[in-house]
């Protein structure tokens, strides 16, 4: 009941409703643009949240995530170009339906399933986050250090590409976090006599550089994107009879979305593809999948919108973001001095329940905005790519400047963009680096505080049972992933051998 009171207070005394609606609109438009992922859409908004109150600021970001997950399905269905990675599964049957002249129906199924998934995910978030967070109340300095190590290990292990590169990116993130004045002794580190570096490198600069600027650099070398036809700009919501047919697929999507959302590193894309496969496996007419089956849209769309809520469970409970989008959200929380974890529920219950109420408004408004904003979204997708990229570049440069009124920040952001470009090129994942940067202080401060207690003896990390458990879990993830990595390396070797042989065939 107390929670309801906080939720009502947030809805009536702060501009939460405006933030939720604005975030959903921005998210749908951003998600609809191919190449602009939910995390980039959120990162573009991050500088504007600095001057806002914490509750509307985080609701704005979280609602953008909700909107972007649906927005990605619009170009996936209309032009077979997923606006987000998670929408790739939707494009399989969605585009088939569009070719059959059922594009409006496909968009309607996507919208209804997205809203359904959003509410199921939100229910899970509200019910289970606080009990999980209370587990973390027993954590001591060594346990917090080990939690940070576990977070980076899990994300590095589950990131795409090689485990070694994931871990290297995580270590690089921790290294960036050491720049600036050491908070425990006041000594400056890696500042190169630059006053601007004394406060450290703000993670927002690195995040926007890695996600948004590097994407601009990649897009600079890519051709024009395809255009959507204006004829398919009307949504047709499924009838109640057809909706009943989708319940099983939506149930599968939600179940997988709940599980994957709570697993750090999994994210909406895996949930969408897994639920598509499971929906086909459990369907009475699996042969219709890939040929325009409505269930082939309902399951992945329900899954990725469920993930948009359940991905907040590990973030709010333990302070560990499981995806790029929740890493941006963590950045937003830290900007406003909110440290996610068990104490968040004790110290800032108004914020937690305000966020929940904002997410409820966002999911509800998604239904109405999703219908209203379709035409502008198609209009936006059809704008010439050069115009859009130029405007995004201008927005990024202006938005980041507005945080500290510093041109130095912009140089750091562009530098992070260049680093991000090379990371993409060389197969390094971003998320471990972002996580290393965000968790750097937590890891180092608790490492040093723990060692103060034992006068430098590392045994404390093993003597503390929670710390030991977390370190064992980290080791299990790394070892498991190493085994996968060896398998991947063998496969890569076989592929290379085949390529070399193919290039030596006679006649070439």
């Amino acid at each position: 009941m107390e929670g309801l009171g906080y939720a009502w207070q947030a809805l009536t005394t702060t501009p939460v409703v405006f933030a939720a609606v604005g975030g959903v609109v921005w998210g749908i438009l951003g998600g609809a643009l191919p190449g602009i992922s939910p995390s980039i859409t959120m990162a573009l908004l991050l500088p504007f949240t600095y001057g806002m109150d914490p509750i509307p600021a985080i609701v704005l970001l979280a609602s953008t995530y909700v909107g972007a997950e649906y927005g990605g399905s619009i170009p996936a269905i209309l032009i077979r170009t997923p606006g987000t990675n998670a929408a790739a599964a939707t494009s399989v049957d969605g585009y088939e339906m569009q070719k059959q002249g059922r594009g409006g129906e496909a968009l309607g199924i996507s919208l209804v399933s997205g809203v359904t998934g959003g509410f199921i995910g939100l229910s899970f978030l509200v019910l289970f986050t606080e009990p999980l967070a209370s587990v973390a109340l027993a954590f001591s300095f060594p346990a917090y250090f080990s939690l940070g190590i576990l977070g980076i290990s899990v994300i590095a292990s589950l990131s795409t590409g090689s485990l070694v590169k994931g871990l290297m990116a995580g270590v690089a993130g921790l290294m960036i976090a050491t720049v600036g004045t050491d908070p425990l002794s006041g000594v400056s580190r890696y500042t190169f006599h630059q006053a601007e570096l004394l406060g450290g490198i703000e993670f927002i600069l690195v995040m926007v550089g890695l996600f948004a600027v590097s994407e601009l650099l990649v897009q600079a070398g890519r051709p024009e994107w395809r255009k959507a036809e204006h004829t398919q700009s009307r949504i047709r919501l499924p009838s109640f009879r057809n909706w009943r047919r989708l319940w099983k697929a939506q149930g599968i999507g939600s179940g997988i979305g709940i599980f994957e959302g709570c697993m750090p590193g999994a994210g909406g894309s895996i949930a969408a593809f897994m639920s598509y496969n499971e929906a086909r496996r459990w369907s009475k007419e699996p042969e219709k999948f890939g040929k325009g089956a409505p269930e082939g849209i309902a399951a992945p769309e329900c899954a990725n919108n469920t993930v948009a809520s359940t991905a907040l469970v590990p973030l709010l409970s333990f302070g560990i973001p499981g995806s790029n989008s929740t890493a941006i959200l963590l950045g937003g929380l830290l900007i406003h001095g909110l440290q996610p974890g068990p104490l968040l529920f004790d110290r800032n219950p108004d914020f937690v329940y305000g966020l929940f109420s904002g997410l409820a408004v966002a999911n509800l408004s998604l239904f109405f905005i999703g219908m209203a904003v379709l035409t502008p979204a198609i209009w936006l997708v059809n704008r010439p790519k050069p115009y859009l990229l130029a405007c995004i570049y201008a927005l990024v440069l202006s938005g980041i400047y507005s945080i500290n009124h510093s041109l130095f920040d912009l140089y750091i952001m562009l530098g992070a963009g260049a680093v991000g470009y090379f990371m993409r090129l060389l197969g390094f994942p971003f998320l471990p680096m972002v996580l290393g940067l965000v968790l750097g202080y937590l890891i180092e401060a608790n490492y040093r505080r723990a060692l103060q207690l034992t006068d430098g003896d590392h045994i404390i990390f093993i003597e503390d049972p929670i710390s030991l458990g977390l370190l064992i879990a980290a080791a299990v993830f790394v070892i498991g992933s190493a085994a996968r990595d060896i398998h991947m390396a063998k496969r890569e070797a076989r592929r290379k051998a085949e390529e070399r042989l193919a290039s030596q065939e006679p006649g070439q």
């Binding site: 890696y190 790519k385 130029a390 927005l395 400047y401 009124h405 180092e444 040093r448 430098g456 290379k496």
Partner: protein, 182 residues
């Protein structure tokens, strides 16, 4: 026979150098009397060792892949009776490399626009610089430099000026413009 050194080996060596430079930086961190059992350089040094170790693993991994690849290629070509010659793949690779090179150059150009903007904005002021940035980047992305693009550039500059300077009260660099009116 021509052999190329795998990319991950280069990455590994470059990362080792980076780890060495970072370790050197950690070694220069002064020891504070406020430091307890662990000083401010401890974590950076540990990170340098970790990065160096991971770089070594990456190199070993790349070498292992290369050895397995060569064995598999040699076995298959021996079976087929053809000699192993990686150089035959060169023309296709060269074409790919040119296309990759062009993409990287275009990315560098895009970054160049941002750096040019940062150099110009203190002198030209925010509105003019952002208008030139939008015009330049769109033109670079092969938009026709016509009246429409000019209008878009000016429109974006005016909109962002109103949003940031007037609405959000952000003091964006005014450039030389105030001097003209004093």
């Amino acid at each position: 026979m021509l052999y190329r050194i795998p990319r991950d080996i280069w990455i590994g060596f470059a990362t080792m150098v980076l780890a060495g430079v970072y370790w050197y930086g950690a070694d220069q961190i002064p020891i504070s009397p406020l430091d307890g059992a662990v000083n401010a350089a401890a974590m950076p040094k540990a990170l340098a060792y970790a990065l160096g170790g991971l770089a070594l693993i990456l190199i070993l991994r790349a070498l292992a892949i290369e050895v397995i690849t060569r064995r598999a290629t040699a076995d298959a070509t021996t079976d087929a009776g053809a000699p192993v010659d990686a150089a035959t793949a060169a023309p296709k690779d060269r074409g790919d490399a040119v296309s990759r090179g062009k993409r990287h150059l275009r990315a560098a150009g895009m970054l160049g626009f941002g750096i040019t903007y940062l150099i110009a904005v203190p002198y030209l002021g925010y509105m003019l610089s952002i208008a030139l940035l939008v015009f330049g980047v769109a033109g670079y992305m092969q938009a026709r430099p016509d009246r429409k693009l000019l209008l878009l550039s000016v429109g974006v500059a005016v909109f962002f000026y109103l949003l940031f300077v007037r609405f959000l009260d952000i003091p964006l660099p005014p450039g030389f413009w105030p001097l003209l009116f004093t």
